[in-house]
Symmetry: C2
Subunit: 217 residues, 2 copies
């Protein structure tokens, strides 16, 4: 289990502990949105947060799900904003954006670490572009499931064939650039094909090899 402030237990970050400010949000609570300037950065301690952008007509693209240990606030500077809200009940560590920025500027190793996180996020974003632009519904779902499985494994330290899906079908659809119906149909077809079994709030991987073949097709 992650202690008070998740990914900040690093020696680079001990100085930040005193700026630390734990906060709880119930499911569906808004952490911040596209319009209002963001006054804080966050580290997720538990729960799941969805990050998304809205078009004026209401179309939504989820740009990521933040799981425990993830840091929120990298791309917040640019004025390009996105929204974040709690998928499940969530605990975060909150830092004032200004204090955090000052701290980073005075601690090159921290800056370095932030930069590494940013480039990692960028690499993930590029993977997501491939997925959104060039893959069909089944490939999208297979990648999504396996990607989440790896992330949960990394968080819990042990891998499992059961993948927890705390987010609803609509969230998955908005992450993968599909509709809720297509997500539902594709998932159920995968179950019919014995790739997975659908369980409450998750799926169980039955044929990892075939699933991976589809995901990296």
């Amino acid at each position: 289990m992650l202690s008070v402030c998740g990914s900040l237990e690093d020696e680079a970050f001990v100085g930040l502990q005193k700026l630390n400010h734990p906060v709880n949000f119930p499911a569906r609570a808004v952490l911040f949105n596209q319009e209002t300037p963001v006054r804080h950065v966050f580290t997720v301690v538990h729960g799941v947060v969805r990050l998304y952008k809205l078009l004026p007509d209401g179309r939504r693209q989820i740009v990521g799900f933040a799981l425990p240990g993830d840091f929120l606030g990298l791309a917040l500077a640019d004025g390009y904003g996105f929204c974040a809200d709690a998928v499940t009940a969530v605990t975060v560590c909150r830092f004032s954006r200004d204090h955090f920025g000052d701290y980073a500027d005075q601690h090159p190793q921290m800056l370095r670490r932030l930069h590494d996180m940013a480039t990692h996020e960028l690499a993930l974003a590029q993977q997501q572009m491939v997925l959104l632009g060039r893959r069909d519904a089944e490939e999208k779902l297979a990648s999504f499931l396996l990607g989440l499985q790896k992330r949960w494994a990394r968080i819990s330290g042990k891998s499992s064939v059961t993948i927890d899906l705390p987010m609803g079908r609509q969230d998955i659809a908005d992450f993968l650039g599909l509709t809720i119906e297509t997500v539902s149909r594709t998932l159920n077809r995968m179950a019919r094909d014995k790739l997975i079994v659908i369980v409450p709030d998750g799926v169980r991987v039955m044929d990892a090899a075939r699933l991976e073949a589809i995901a990296s097709a």
Copy 2:
């Protein structure tokens, strides 16, 4: 016009000048690819570079076009690779990845600047996710054209209603998650609708207001 090493004329970077190594590539030349580990980072001086990822079956997603002044090599660390090749004849400034990394680690202001660039790229990547996941062909093209127009304006210092398109239709298609036919048809429909005029290697914006309405729909 950008002098020897484009975006490196900053006081933060004078120490790098001696590591500077200008290189020319003809159109279509490969700067680096997904497989081979990347030994250099680059700054584009002139010409246009396409950055893309390939799926095993040959599908391609262009994740960005690098124009003069742009830096290449942010997301290169992660092992997740992408390919880069010259759309037009290209001049770049090349730096050894190791030397560049060492330099950055010893110059916090440089690290800071790299980090800002990375978060900016991340914000753009997220915009592109919205475009790929949730916009139709016409919206994609409109955004693409206006985005390029702004970038050219920023580079040349003056805005123009004529947008240079040095890349071919296939490149545009692979950037927007469309086929070449859809790009062609959509552009020609926009021309028929008097939004733009198609000229050799570019388009001319005739109805900026309507185009922007479509782009930010």
